[in-house]
Amino acid sequence: MTTIAQPTGDAQPGAGARLEPLAAAKAPVGPGKITAVGVVLALGLLSLGVIALHDALIPSGLVAGPSWIDSGLTTLHGSEPAPWMVPSGLLMATVGVWALVTALRPRPSTAIALTARTGVYLRPRDVARIARTATENVDGVTSATANATRRTVTVSVRAIAPGQIAADVQQAVAHALDALAAAPRIRVRVTPERGPR
């Protein structure tokens, strides 16, 4: 009998030792509205800085023209209550409430985990595409569309003989997606294909 000596040192890839995969990182999240708002606010801060620098350079003669801050304050100075303040105030308050909610809301989770020892993820739209392909391969299905959220996959099919199709599609989609860590709820809508006139 021949025995093959196994390396006794640190495990190396391909050395025959069963290696433990890297642990999963946090599940991916989408950028969310807060990222877009952050970019807008950063640009706003940059603009305020440019206005202040512009005014700071006027006395040195490097920049000509009136002071922007002075002009703004002079325009507002002496203002009186006016009817337009109601719609403008409402608009500002509404945008403010929206921004407040955006600031506090967690970023959207966009990941659907696969059963794996490390972190492997699909996006809902990819799960929908996989479900559609699985559906299109079912006998009798002429066309299919699919939508997916993180928990539900909805497949709409057109079929020549709708009788057994819904169960077949359900089974095909469940089989295609059985590697997902949490089995999604699968909804199937069948529309009979109209025959030739």
Binding site: L22, V120, L122
Partner: protein
Amino acid sequence: MSRATIAADRVATFVVAVILIGVGVTAIAWWLDLFTWMPARLDLTAALDLVYQSWWPWAAGVAGLVAVLVGLRWLIAHVPDRGVGDLKLAGSGPGGKLRAAASPVAEAAAQVLAGAPGVRSASGKVLHERGQLVARLTGTIETGADLHAIAQAADKVAAELGAVLGRNDLLCQVQLKTATRTRVQPRVR
């Protein structure tokens, strides 16, 4: 994006939101004359006096420069992370440092993943994200691919990546996307 950038976005948005709500409600209350203590006219004399002080240009200059620098830094922080440079490897000590260029190693791992059945292409990088050191592999898969096989391939690649870099704090995230178009297979007549 780093946790600091996300926190900065949230805090700044919160502050601006409170200011917007405050100014909006005050403007409506002013027109409706809800409070007797509100002035009949907006008096900005004190603010206008400041603008004519001799030190004002200096103050505006410093504040403007700080705002521009902070604004630029904040803006750049939103650019997608290009990944970390070198990673210190296990075995580094007073006698010497062992370092590896992290992202090329992740890219090589991605190429191994790309060789798995059903995976069309893959890329990889190592980055700091939300307080974690993450090896992120991004793969494009066929819509008819066997997800079990791909998950197993991802586990294998993640194990090899861990063995090569030997960092206990390194975590892995494999993001899969499906190909939007079915690959045209060669025709046989």
